[in-house]
Assembly symmetry: C2
Homo-oligomer: 153 residues x 2
DNA sequence: TTTTCAATGGATTTGCAAGTCCATTAATCA
DNA sequence: TGATTAATGGACTTGCAAATCCATTGAAAA
């Protein structure tokens, strides 16, 4: 539910890359081992992420993949978009005939509510947030009231 | 994204049944025409909804399907559950190794946030809400405050 | 009764996402 | 320079959700 296998793999690979030292590139094979994603399939996904400008790649010795911008500047929405799975808050998943805001299907309002919250999530979450969250957890006690408050929602 | 085709069909069919007069049963074929769902595939889905107790069915003349309880008593979660697609707020979609609340993967907190909002939505939305929403819209002016308040629960 | 209508259930096919394989290209090292 | 390493891109295979088909069951109408 929610995401296709491919999207899930992409998010996992990007998260792994964000978690690794930025000075050296990670090999597709290494990433495959660390994330458990089938290596050849992962290659394909990484290629698309390169094409979309989210990753940089290098061949040969010391080659591999690395983020092309800081983790804070890569939203989940950008990753979805790179794989043609953009989150569009106006799309009605139920495609009941031609359905739009003017002439909504019966399910439209209910679905809109859900769809909006998914899109908001994808827009507002970045790879940087993952690292911040982890640092917070590692810091032992629940760091910062504001973060806990946000996490709850 | 979000739902499989099968789940989408089930929600559409249930919504259509909720919208129809409750005194006479709707035929699988009629439902197929009204919702645009392939008729034989729809049959299968309806069978599962019957097995789960959400629908009642009758054979032969004047046979067909009808809701087994009032629309207000059928949550989206119940429909998902009938098709083995329960919304479980603790499941980590990213399945990164063995991941749980104690030993969360890097993506876990971010995903939890999303997953929780999807589950809340499925739990708190009923077929009755769809009808109420429609009546609200039909009543002309945006009956905002009262409608929104009711729809929330 | 018999006929007709409609659900039931299983077997089968289709189509596409997921996964594999391999030959090519390009970078670095010895 | 040649050998090695790793990404690239396309062709191909697999597996499963989606869709189809058909023979059976059961209920109501004629």
């Amino acid at each position: 539910m929610i995401f296709s296998q491919t999207i899930e793999y992409a998010l996992r690979a990007m998260a792994q890359l964000a978690a690794m030292s930025a000075d050296e590139a990670a090999t597709s094979k290494d990433l495959s081992v660390e994330t458990g994603i089938p290596s050849h399939y992962l290659s394909k996904i990484l290629r698309r992420l390169v094409a979309a400008g989210l990753l940089e790649s290098g061949k040969g010795h010391h080659g591999g993949f690395r983020l092309s911008r800081p983790p804070e500047a890569i939203s989940f929405q950008a990753i979805l978009s790179a794989l043609d799975a953009d989150c569009d808050p106006n799309r009605c998943a139920f495609g009941w005939g031609k359905c739009n805001a003017q002439n909504p299907c019966l399910l439209h309002p209910a679905f809109s509510k859900l769809n909006t919250s998914v899109c908001d999530w994808a827009d507002s979450t970045t790879l940087g947030d993952l690292l911040a969250e982890r640092r917070g957890a590692k810091a032992g006690t629940h760091a910062k009231a504001p973060k806990a408050a946000r996490a709850r929602r």
